[in-house]
Symmetry: C2
Subunit: 223 residues, 2 copies
DNA sequence: CACCTTGGATAGCCGCACTATCCAGCACTT
DNA sequence: AAGTGCTGGATAGTGCGGCTATCCAAGGTG
């Protein structure tokens, strides 16, 4: 199919598709002539994935390119590719080493891992992200003792186990990797929205006057 | 204290503090003379909160202003303030109504709520965010049946219950609201990093050759 | 009294994600 | 065979968000 059709079927403007092609998020189409190229179903799939990562997963364009190129990097084995892809995801600002709260947070994270029996190395991006988040809480004076963190950790373990079961259902290596990335990234907003909904629900249950039916009202959505 | 000292103690440049003052994220200091103002510990606390929301929670400046002004809006009762504050948080792009996947996602979300016994109204921002995430998964052809979603929902319930226990420990109404916002926003990156770490851990446990100790290696952190 | 700092206002910068304009080469109609 | 309208590629521009730099006059300081 031509660019215009790809655009129509995906709902993405031709200008934006050209931009993604330039940025290497989408492989170029098969050249038919000097001024014409052909795109297949595979391009459509990939484009939809890119859009989902960028719009729903809120991943920067440059990051999406890194993630996707790691997925299809056939110089690495399956495991390394997954590591590279997930490691390339954004993971927030680096912890501020000049802040004493960071040191506290690092100790807390290490202790948490010990209690959970985890062995994720501290330089792993997700681990740094954990330290940065904990440091922010410490700095604000909110308690984040083991009693708070352990339940979160155990729930995370159950989520992960559940996610990997799902991923193992895919057979083809690249499909499996794509699924791993898509599920890591796209389940994140889902998980967060479920948590916020559960907050609303539970807070209504606890605090609302008996007459009211649902959670409290909210203001207009931002975007 | 003066602006310079506030800057030094918070680690935020004076230029940025001035910017926050302009944007209404920080109340103005007590004017001592035409050219001098005095800031107290409360300003420092608030500034740290703002920084955490923006840097760790990745909330846009304009949104942070809305959230914080809702927290201290004394024309509303406690419950409405919480609703406004959480409702003002970013919740991603609106679902694309022209896409049939959105309709599917909406039905799935409704069914999920029914099965969980939740009654969060569909116009609630978190609910729209859920629909948008589900629609993206549907569009990509990934299954998201009840068997996948229910466990996530039940885990979210347990997280929420745990979070509200923590929030109830705060006494003063405004402190409690601040805590609610801070914990909603700042626990999100923590939860996501724990999930990613658990992925790494579990994936190493399942797939790594017996000799290896920890999860697979990753590339350099982005920021 | 000379000098330095402060807070306030304004304008500028940078990165990111697009978007608009041009252009020459096809391809399909008539 | 000639017009006409699309095609893909290149390049430059736009809008926004989050700062950052510069300037200024009024105060405080030694």
């Amino acid at each position: 199919m031509r660019l215009a059709e790809l655009s129509e079927r995906s709902g993405v403007s031709t200008a934006t598709i050209k931009y993604y092609l330039r940025e290497g998020l989408l492989p170029p189409g098969d050249r038919i002539s000097t001024t014409q190229a052909d795109y297949g179903e595979e391009h459509l799939r990939r484009l939809r994935l890119v859009r989902a990562l960028i719009q729903v997963g809120r991943i920067p364009v440059a990051t999406a390119r890194e993630v996707l190129s790691a997925v299809s990097d056939d110089t690495l084995d399956q495991n390394s590719r997954l590591g590279s892809a997930v490691g390339a995801l954004p993971h927030g600002p680096a912890p501020d080493e000049s802040d004493p709260a960071t040191a506290t947070a690092r100790r807390t994270a290490a202790e948490l891992q010990r209690r959970l029996g985890w062995t994720v190395p501290p330089e792993y991006p997700a681990c740094r992200m954990l330290v940065a988040s904990l440091a922010a809480l410490v700095r604000l004076g909110y308690p984040c003792g083991m009693d708070r963190l352990l339940p979160y950790g155990r729930l995370a373990e159950r989520l992960a186990s559940h996610d990997l079961d799902l991923i193992e259902e895919f057979e083809a290596p690249t499909t499996q990797l794509e699924a791993a990335v898509a599920l890591t990234v796209l389940y994140e907003p889902m998980l967060l929205s479920l948590r916020r909904m559960a907050h609303a629900q539970e807070s209504a249950r606890r605090f609302a006057p008996p007459g009211e039916a649902g959670p409290g009202q909210n203001r207009e959505p931002g975007r």
